[in-house]
């Protein structure tokens, strides 16, 4: 019925009221549309143009069109490829971690047997509002090999802790631990989704003799799949763009031994410290296309596995 009326209204010539409404609506959107134009579309166009040039702001007058050279260079530049590897390695650990850990914490906090749940929820959220730079400065000291509390505690129970941020084999994991501090948003989203699962469904499953694990996998998981989907998309995009904290930890050299030289750190270094803004623009566009493809792919796949309770 609803589709029928909307079809009819679309077929009918636009009334003056409708035209007025459309005009008003677009006027309301005007601030954002202007922003879209000046903060996204134009800059994107300009950086696309830069990516085909050898643009260097110090020698702006020598700008020259060089075709696809910058894009070809990405695939022949050992350091760029390495930075892609560093980023991918981080993604590989970070994504599952940041999808699953907040869910586990949320399950713990929504468990009715746990007292003072509100306090725990507050405490798990707390670090999420700390500036990333402050958090990184704290972690660098807490994970120091000699004087850091983590290794002192491990030493106390007879384990010799690694060098964490200074060990090529550990630094990625240590960065994931650092990012674990910012699980607040994910946890809250999971908590809300878990609380929306109708209790009757559990009761019914219990009557059918389903144990807690079966109940979780057959009822809870499908019902919170939309949140899992969002977590997954955000984790992937976040990992692809990982930048700020890594640069504070490893500097522009990506200590230790280039192991924190993430793709974006490399991009920043190319553009801002080496003045190769043409190349940096190409790096940015390559990332943009990749991230766009991943996002579109995920959204396309969601029909297959993401469950939405209502149509709207």
């Amino acid at each position: 019925m609803a589709t029928l009326t909307s079809r009819i209204s679309k077929a009918l010539p636009k009334s003056r009221a409708q035209k007025r409404e459309a005009r008003l609506g677009l006027t309301m959107l005007a601030p954002w549309l202007v922003g879209l134009l000046f903060l996204w579309i134009l800059p994107m166009g300009i950086s696309l143009y830069f990516s085909f040039t050898n643009y260097d702001p110090v020698k702006a007058d020598q700008i020259k069109f060089i075709g696809f050279d910058n894009f070809v260079r990405i695939f022949t530049d050992e350091v760029a490829i390495w930075s892609g590897f560093v980023t991918f390695r981080f993604m590989f650990i970070y994504v599952p971690f940041s999808v699953i850990m907040p869910l586990l914490i949320a399950l713990m906090i929504t468990n009715k047997t746990l007292p003072i749940r509100g306090v725990f929820r507050f405490l798990f959220y707390l670090p999420s509002i700390i500036p990333g730079i402050a958090a990184t400065l704290i972690f660098l000291r807490v994970f120091n090999v000699q004087t850091g509390w983590v290794n002192r505690i491990l030493g106390g129970i007879g384990i010799e802790g690694p060098s964490w941020f200074w060990d090529a084999n550990w630094v990625t994991i240590t960065l994931v631990i650092l990012e674990f501090w910012f699980i607040g948003a994910g946890m809250i989203q999971y908590i809300a989704a878990l609380q929306n699962v109708p209790l009757e469904m559990y009761e019914a499953a219990k009557v059918d003799g389903a144990g807690p694990f079966r109940r979780f996998f057959q009822i809870t998981l499908p019902l919170i799949s939309s949140v899992i989907f969002y977590r997954l998309v955000f984790a992937l995009i976040f990992a692809m763009q990982y930048f700020g904290n890594a640069m504070l930890v490893g500097g522009l050299s990506g200590n230790p031994d280039r192991n924190t030289l993430f793709y974006n750190v490399y991009l920043y270094r190319a553009g801002w410290t080496l003045n190769e803004m043409g190349y940096a623009s190409a790096l940015a566009w390559f990332l943009f296309i990749l991230a766009g493809a991943v996002t579109i792919g995920l959204f396309a796949s969601q029909k297959k596995w993401v469950f939405y309770a209502t149509g709207d």
């Binding site: 850091g148 060098s163 230790p256």
Partner: protein, 285 residues
Amino acid sequence: MPDGKEVDWTWATLRDVAMKLTVDKAGKDATQAGFDPKTTRQWGFNQQWSDSRGMAVLFGGGGIVAADGKTAKVSDSYKQAYKWVYDGIWKDNFYPSGEEAGSELLAKPNEFASGNVAMSYTHSWFMCCMEGGNLKNKWGVGVVPAGPDGKVTVKMHGDTFSIMKGSKNPDAAFNVMLDIMKSKELEQVYGGLPSGDAERAAFFTAKETQFKFKPGDVTWQVFLDSVPFPDVPSHESLTPNYLKAKQRMQDFQSLIQGKAGLVMDDEIAKLEKDLQKIFDEAAAK
């Protein structure tokens, strides 16, 4: 030496002394069996406020560019110095690694002021910044050993001011420079050793007051006697494609201070290869 013998003040001697001055948690020094480098509490020697070229002038001037100005060549004196520093960090354990420098014990980047480094090779202007540390006035200055060829080399920054040709305000800039030169207070803040003899005496006296030294506590003559021995060519000399070369050198320094088990000759060869690419790029433009 502790046994009363007199020895030549060479870099080998300095290393031995530095190792003796490197002490772990149990009170063992780096020359003793059972010394645990993971619990070092005091380090023997470091170089502070040095970039990767600055840290390489221990055994004489040199550079990373050959005389033709376009071939990447790490001079032998630099190679020796990099190896010496690398062994100091990872084999002899007297030189703090990047990680150790960042610990609470050394409070990077002001390691010497923490009081946990016995000897530090650094610039005279660094005296600006030792007050805040644990060190107070318990320090002195000494001469650096002669290089293997018997020549003394002193890492030197000749700080000069210049006004760019394209400067929009050359007259105003000149006045600022004059003011900097005239102001005794700014001179102290700036911390470089003044070029005039009279100013130098005043500079030392002011430092004595600042740190509550008694006259004679610090052998200021060391500064004056070092002046005739700058590193030639200077570690701050011209480099083609400077920004990129600098980044590559910075990566090299991180590597030295961050990774054990390297073969320095291989790493230096890699460095030269990369630098050559960077230099060629500049030549092609």
